[in-house]
Every structure is written in structure tokens, then in C-alpha cells.
Symmetry: C2
Subunit: 378 residues, 2 copies
């Protein structure tokens, strides 16, 4: 194998596939990055066996030349060293050549590195996924769906299925749901699809977080293929594979109240900042809990109390309040997570009593909702 | 005590004095910030008993009003809570009022915090320092002197005196020296002084690091007062006290070679980057050691070798080489630290043999030098 490549392109690709490489793997070759040079270009692969990422650098694209292949071939190089080396090379061009015995020479300017490589044949093969039943979604919308739900997955392995995000595809609509059993986040969106098949899968939260980091902010379409135990995300030069979680995701639809007894609308930013302030003195007390009470025709009071340190109280004006009076307590952290995910200027909160889960939504937008279970304190 | 103050000013002052507050102190009241309101303004104090910082916010300065005092007084508030609270207050103005029983009310907009305070009389008094024998140095120069020497202090407590920086003032010239016994950094500068007294003190490296963070980048003069066991740095609204280290600093002048056998000049940035690259494969081996050899009339070779991973070799052009041929090995980290501290475009390296300490300087500048002890490998 021998090729010359633009350093910038190589650095970017290495950085992308590194997101799948773990130093704590039990399979030694997975601490490496696989490099394959064909006539068409160079493919880099990283994997921790849960997530696999493949990045392709074409010899030429849109009239620009990125690489020149002198001899096709393949090698696996230690990811940690290879990624640091390419970042620090002195010139804009890099030559990579594999000699006999897997010895790899990396040249740039007057710097020459010799790295001991591993046989690429030893590297595990990525799953072969048939590209039927593809659906498509814009990158921006995909990233928003991830951001607005994935924070609510469980971090505990008590119920492993809850560490994933449930994706349901039905009638051309994708519903993404995450819950840790104390709160729930849901986002729906239309997707482009030719199939009438419906899917119901659970994707590890970690996979979606890594995918989100790797995708640029743009409106290009991402192709998504679901198989029995894998999901594949495809962009122009990137393949992102994740395993799916085994097991049935709980039916969350019955959790979500369909009617409410108290409804109010507040400014998102003002409300978020008041919760944030109240949480300063809640952290030391019961699990970061703040109190919320309706105190007039158009104002609510947020307070918290930490006997040793002190207390805080603040009134917020609401746009409208309908229904019964209410006192309720909830986790400041869950509320702040939910408010940050909603991203609207105003939010509507719908309560059905101090002991029942309540909903936070954007007024007149039924594609997104956040649900929180209250804490018993009053 | 009752006053109203500009939030920005308060946040800045709290941030400054927080640099002296440690959560791991054995004196409980030192986890607090002392607040004193007089007719002239508000003074905040933080201390971990090694470092004490006092920040003053005048009622009025340069025609701008920063505070209004309704009642003088004092209180100590939990630093961690107080600093987070003031940062997150909703409005540009803050009212602070101490009621009976040290209960302190902090109001801003509709937010109201009640914090349990402590009696300011319990707070340890700062050392009283007579303001004789002051010398002055511009803030920029002081920060440069710190940056160019403090990194070389010892991090080990085996010889506590070496965890400090030695300051010698003689004939209006201040010499700052730090060494961990493997390398040494020295910087000299003229200072403004009315006294002919000479000083020889050792300031904890940590104190100088914190001082450097707290000082703005400007050319205003800092007043420095040295007593038997304290040093005080004074700027317009800030007092920074540090204890001095006990004991005699070793005489380092005999360590510094006065003649050389090999002299060369290289471009600092090129040399630094080549060392950085070579260190990538040195980290795994013997204590981050790289090899350096003169390989021609105007080039040197930098290399390193990590049997399991691979090796790297690179040639660098020099501007001039005088004297004997040489092969030597040294710590890449020490060399990079020294090169970063020198800040010149070109550097001169002067060797007196492969087993002797060598000097790195800026050509024609004798106010700064870096010394490194080689490692025996050839």
C-alpha cells in the first residue's frame, strides 16, 4: 500500500472514526484504525464492536484532488498514536507506505515515522446490511431529534432497555422516545420513505450521542437502514453502524396524561433561569428538588430550602393560568433538561394534580413533549 | 449592613477572591468570603491561610457609581454558594442586607435568597504589612517573569524549598529562578525601587500561578512589599498576600556553565514542533526522552524510538553550528517547556558535552535563560 493524501482530509477522517475506538476494548485489534486504499480512495474504519464508523476519502471529489494512490492495500495502525501523529505532521501532504512485515512509513516534510502495523485481514468485518427499506431524514432534524430525547435515557443498568432510545416508524412518521422512569422525552417527525413497513427498535443512547457529534450541521439527507440487530446511518462519505438493544421497550403511551386540571404558559428563559437559581440551594437537600406553587391569577412561585445553608424564593409572571390551584415539587435538573430540549420562546405546562406526571410542551406544537414525575414533599 | 451594588463588579471581585478559597481547609470559616461595607466601598476577602486576596469595590470611581451603602457592617458567607448565586442573579443590581442573627438577604429583581452568615469577627486577620521598602514592576513584566520561570518548580515535596520560586533583588534588579534539579529557568528584570536593601526570598509556585491568573494584562505598576515571612502584591483595588517558604534556596549560579563547546542557532517554532513530534513515540519509552545529534554543517537530527510502537526521525536546518560534534538525549517535556517560555523567534543552544547541563537562550538577550540536564542514553 502506498498513497499520498491531503493532511486536513486525513485528520478529519481519523477524528471521525476515533469516536468509535475505545482503549478499553477486550479485542486488541480494535484499538487500531483500519486503513484500506483502493483505486477510488481511502477508507478508514474504527470500531468498539457496539459502534463502527467508516469514513471514505475519495481520490477526487467535485473536481478537487484529495489523494493519489500508488499501490492499493490495507493495514491496521494503533489509533492513539496514528491520530496524534497525523495531527502534528509538518506539511499539508502526507505519504503513507506499507513495507514488508506490516512496517508502515508516514512521511511529511522532513519528518518520518515508522509504525508497526497489524494485518488488516485480522480486523473484524462490519455487518453487511442490505440497502432495502431505507428511510431518509435531514441531518439537522436528526440531530434535533437526538438532542431533544437522548438526555432522558437511564444511566443505570438496572433496566438495560431504558439506556436506549425507542424509535418507532409507522406511516412515514418517526417517533423517538426516551425515559428513565422518572421523566420522559418524546419527539415526532415525518421522514422520507418508500416502504410501508413499520419498525420498533431501541438504539443505545451512547450511539446516538456519538452519531450526533460526528454529523455536521447541515440539511443534507441521512439514509437510515434498520435490520434485526443493527442500524446504519449513511451520509455522503460516512457509514455509522450501531447495534440495537435486545428486548421490548415499555409501552409509554399510557403514561402520558390526555387531560389536565391546571394549564399555564410561561416564558421559557425566565422560567429556566428561576429554576436554575432555586436549584443552587436545592442541591444539598433532597435530590435537587424545588417547589412550585400558583400564587395568584398570573404568577407562580419557585422556592427551595436547604436548612443549613439558607433558602430562596422567586415569583415569575405567567402569560395565562387556567384551572385549579396547585402546589407541586419536582427535580430542578429534570425540569432544566426538559426546558433546554424544548427550545421554544414560551412553554405550556399541564398538570393533573400534585401526585401525577405533568407535561411540558411548546404551545400549538404536538411534535414534541416532555413529561416529569413530581416528588412528594407538600 | 445594607448596600446595593452593580452585579458585574461584584461577580468580578468574588471571582478574584475565590482563587484563594479552598474547600479543603481545616479552618471552617475560611470556606467563606468576608464582606465588609464601609462608607468608601465594599471589601471582599478570601484566604486559604497560604494565600489571601482582598478585592475592593469603591462606591464611586472615575465618576462612575458602583455601589450605594445604606448601612456599614460585615458578614462572612459560604463562598461556594455565594459565588454561584451572584453569577446567576437576574438583574444588573444586587441588594445585600444582613438582619439579626447573621441572616443575609440577597435580592435582585424578584429573586430573594436568604443565606445563613457567620460573624466577620471570627475571620482571621490578614497580616499587617508596613509599606516601606516597596518596589514596583509593570503587570505585563511581572506576568512574563512568572510565566517564564514558575513551570520549572519541583512538584515533589522531597525538597519543599524547590516548590517555590527564588526571588533576589539587588541593585534595582530582580532575578527570578526556579529549578526542580533536572532543569532550571531564570529571568532578570529591572524594577523601580527607592531602597538599596537586597532581598532573597522563596515564593510558593502555586501563589505565583494564582497571582498571574488574577492580574489583568496591562502595563500598570504592581507594588510589591516583602517582609520576613510574607509578600504582598498591590494593584489599584487588589491586595494579594502570600506566605514565603522557610529555608535557604540553593546557590544555583555554579550550575550554569560559563563556556560552551558546541553552539547552534535554530528557529524556535520548527524546533519545538519537531521535538513535539518525536515525543509522540517517546512517551511510552524511557521517561519521554528524545535523541538529538548534529548530522552536518547546518542540520541536526531529532529522533526517538519505542520498540513496540515504532520510531521517528527528523532533520532540522540550523542557522549556524559552531564547535564540536555532539550526540545528546534529553526530556522532550523539559525542552518544550523551555522553548515555550523563551518566546523568541530564534534560540541559541550551548552545549558543553553530552553529560553536562546545556543552556537555551535568546541570541543577544541575557535577561532570560533555560537550563536542562541531559539524560544518559548514547
Amino acid at each position: 500500500m502506498k498513497f499520498v493524501i491531503q493532511k486536513d482530509k486525513l485528520v478529519q477522517s481519523v477524528q471521525d472514526v476515533m469516536k468509535a475506538v475505545s482503549s478499553r476494548t477486550t479485542i486488541p485489534i480494535l484499538t487500531g484504525i483500519k486503513i484500506v486504499a483502493t483505486e477510488e480512495g481511502i477508507t478508514l474504519t474504527g470500531s468498539d464492536s457496539d459502534i463502527s464508523i467508516e469514513s471514505f476519502i475519495p481520490v477526487e471529489e467535485d473536481g478537487k484532488q484529495y489523494a493519489e494512490i500508488f499501490q492499493t492495500g490495507s493495514i491496521v495502525l494503533q489509533a492513539r498514536f496514528f491520530s496524534e501523529i497525523v495531527k502534528k505532521l509538518p506539511k499539508d501532504q502526507v505519504e503513507i507506505e506499507v513495507n514488508n512485515y506490516s512496517l508502515t512509513v508516514i512521511r511529511s516534510g522532513s519528518a518520518e515515522f515508522n509504525l508497526n502495523g497489524l494485518d488488516a485481514e485480522e480486523y473484524p468485518r462490519l455487518p453487511e446490511i442490505e440497502e432495502q427499506n431505507v428511510f431518509k431524514i435531514s441531518t439537522d432534524l436528526l440531530k434535533a431529534m437526538i438532542r431533544q430525547t437522548v438526555f432522558a435515557v437511564s444511566t443505570s443498568e438496572t433496566r438495560p432497555i431504558l439506556t436506549g432510545v425507542n424509535w418507532r416508524l409507522e406511516n412515514g412518521e418517526l417517533t423517538s422516545i426516551a425515559t428513565d422512569s422518572h421523566r420522559l422525552a418524546l419527539r415526532k417527525a415525518k421522514v422520507e420513505t418508500d416502504t410501508n413497513d413499520s419498525y420498533n427498535v431501541v438504539i443505545p443512547g451512547k450511539s446516538l450521542n456519538e452519531l450526533s457529534k460526528i454529523l455536521d450541521d447541515n440539511d443534507e439527507l441521512v439514509e437510515i437502514v434498520i435490520t434485526e440487530n443493527q442500524i446504519l446511518f449513511k451520509t455522503k462519505n460516512l457509514l455509522f453502524f450501531s447495534r440495537l438493544l435486545d428486548g421490548n421497550y415499555p409501552d409509554t403511551s399510557r403514561l402520558i396524561p390526555t387531560e389536565s386540571k391546571t394549564d399555564l404558559i410561561v416564558n421559557t428563559k425566565e422560567f429556566l433561569q428561576a429554576i436554575d437559581r432555586a436549584s443552587l440551594l436545592a442541591r444539598e437537600g433532597r435530590n435537587n428538588v424545588v417547589k412550585f406553587a400558583i400564587v395568584g391569577e398570573n404568577s407562580v412561585e419557585i422556592s427551595s430550602n436547604s436548612p443549613e445553608i439558607g433558602k430562596v424564593v422567586e415569583e415569575i409572571e405567567t402569560k395565562e393560568i387556567q384551572g385549579e390551584e396547585l402546589k407541586i415539587s419536582f427535580s430542578a435538573k429534570y425540569m432544566m433538561d426538559a426546558l433546554k430540549a424544548l427550545e421554544g420562546q414560551e412553554i405550556r405546562i399541564s398538570f393533573t394534580g400534585a401526585m401525577r406526571p405533568f407535561l411540558i410542551r411548546i404551545p400549538d406544537d404536538d411534535t414534541i413533549l416532555q413529561l416529569i414525575l413530581p416528588v412528594r414533599t407538600y
